[in-house]
Symmetry: C2
Subunit: 245 residues, 2 copies
DNA sequence: TAAGCGAACTTGTACAAACAAGCCAGACCA
DNA sequence: TGGTCTGGCTTGTTTGTACAAGTTCGCTTA
């Protein structure tokens, strides 16, 4: 592990455990450099991590201040429902309701960077949290990964983890579109809510390290089950508001 | 403007206008350094900006690749409904429906970092996009900024901009919680939808550069009007999934 | 033909130095 | 008392160097 990551970890721990409460000032770069016997550049890299996480605010001339004190999740935790649930102390389960190879629609072809009509794998999954159905996942996998997905156990807990262990696939980049929709008849039945009741929709496209799209998914959460959280700032804003088409 | 910001801007423009299409490789750091006659460190800082924006993917040993080609919004555009609408070519308007000073509830006191019972300003606004009502904003302002807010025109288009011009207030950090809720009777009437129909809810707390909370808000968008978009990666994940309380 | 190896290339990490720019508090002055 | 100003502190920017670590691709070899 890199030196700056260690330093960032130490500082993060100190913030989370309350050594530096919200609103408090962090030590200066010079002091941190002395304390960790590292160069100033290395310390700057470390605090840049915390700034990116939204835990720390930074502006020229003034001491850095603590903005938040919650542990932030890794990309893997965000991407994998099972990994997230486990790290939060919940019990996750899932079941494949339908799985079908079919030609890609034109919009899917664009998002998966394949030719229109190329074969893709469409999977419908119901996910439960502590036994309660909370999420309907409609995932479309690119053709080249379809065989590995079809080999999975239909009640497989963590698709992400299984795909990593079986073919070494790692998800690295994602784009997420979040909005609200009304539950259709099938969704209402599966999630145990009334038709037309609100669902939180997350449409995502995920790619490998090489930038090759693996899957695009339409995930619908029962209202009141999960919330998405984002911290941002003038210097780091990954959240964007868009008009719906 | 800093050199690395210029370089980042040039590269961003090149990506957006299609010189480097999605999936393409960026020139190496050495080549960019030569082309812009800058040190490698400066070039690294420039591409780090693009990586943080999610436009570019980066991993050790391999050329950087283009992941997306959409202009990302500034913090101000995300925070200010009016500024966002204007930059997207829409016409935004807003009207204050209610404005009232009252003691802070305990949860508001925590989020605004004031004492419970301290006076806050609660404002209810209806926002329109091209004349259509799309958003109900329930904003609670900390007491110290209340006088400036009360001086604003009730039909003021951009609260953010007016507050900047009148008292020099700049919003710098934000935390956002996004989920879906059902429309209540009043919300349904104001937004022109049926009661119980889905709304996209964004609860946010915004602070100044100094880390001082200014406002917390409960914004509810009519379903189908706006979508939130986030790009992330293994190295930069500001999006987090949380269980609803 | 296919696996393996290695060299060249590319990004990541760390250190050092110097200057620029913004913040803050205490001193000073009207 | 109140405002201004200055000097020290702190973060931001840029350059340079050196090495570490991962990728890629062509060549060799079995």
């Amino acid at each position: 592990m890199a030196r700056y990551e260690q330093i960032a970890g130490d500082l993060r721990d100190a913030i989370i455990c309350g050594d530096y409460p919200i609103g408090a000032q962090l030590p200066s770069e010079a002091e941190l450099a002395a304390r960790f016997s590292a160069a100033r550049g290395t310390v700057r890299q470390a605090v840049a991590v915390l700034v990116a996480e939204g835990l720390v605010g930074s502006r020229q001339g003034a001491r850095r201040i603590v903005l938040g004190s919650e542990r932030s999740q890794s990309f893997a935790e965000l991407h994998s429902f099972a990994q997230w649930a486990r790290s939060m102390g919940y019990r996750a389960s899932g079941i494949v309701l339908a799985s079908q190879r079919r030609p890609a629609t034109s919009s899917e072809a664009v998002r998966l960077a394949v030719a229109p009509g190329d074969e893709v794998l469409s999977v419908l999954r119901l996910r439960r949290l502590d036994g309660e159905p909370v999420l309907i996942e409609r995932t479309v996998y690119a053709g080249w990964i379809a065989p590995a997905v079809e080999k999975l156990d239909p009640s497989c807990e963590s698709v992400t983890q299984e795909l990593y262990e079986s073919v070494g696939l790692v998800f690295a980049y994602g784009e997420h579109l979040i909005d609200a929709v009304a539950a259709g008849a099938e969704e209402a039945r599966l999630l145990g809510v009334r038709r037309g009741s609100p669902l939180l929709r997350q449409r995502r496209t995920t790619t490998t390290q090489e930038g090759r799209p693996v899957e695009c998914s339409d995930d619908r959460y029962r209202a009141g089950s999960v919330t998405f959280s984002i911290r941002n700032s003038t210097s780091a804003n990954s959240l964007v508001r868009r008009a719906a088409e």
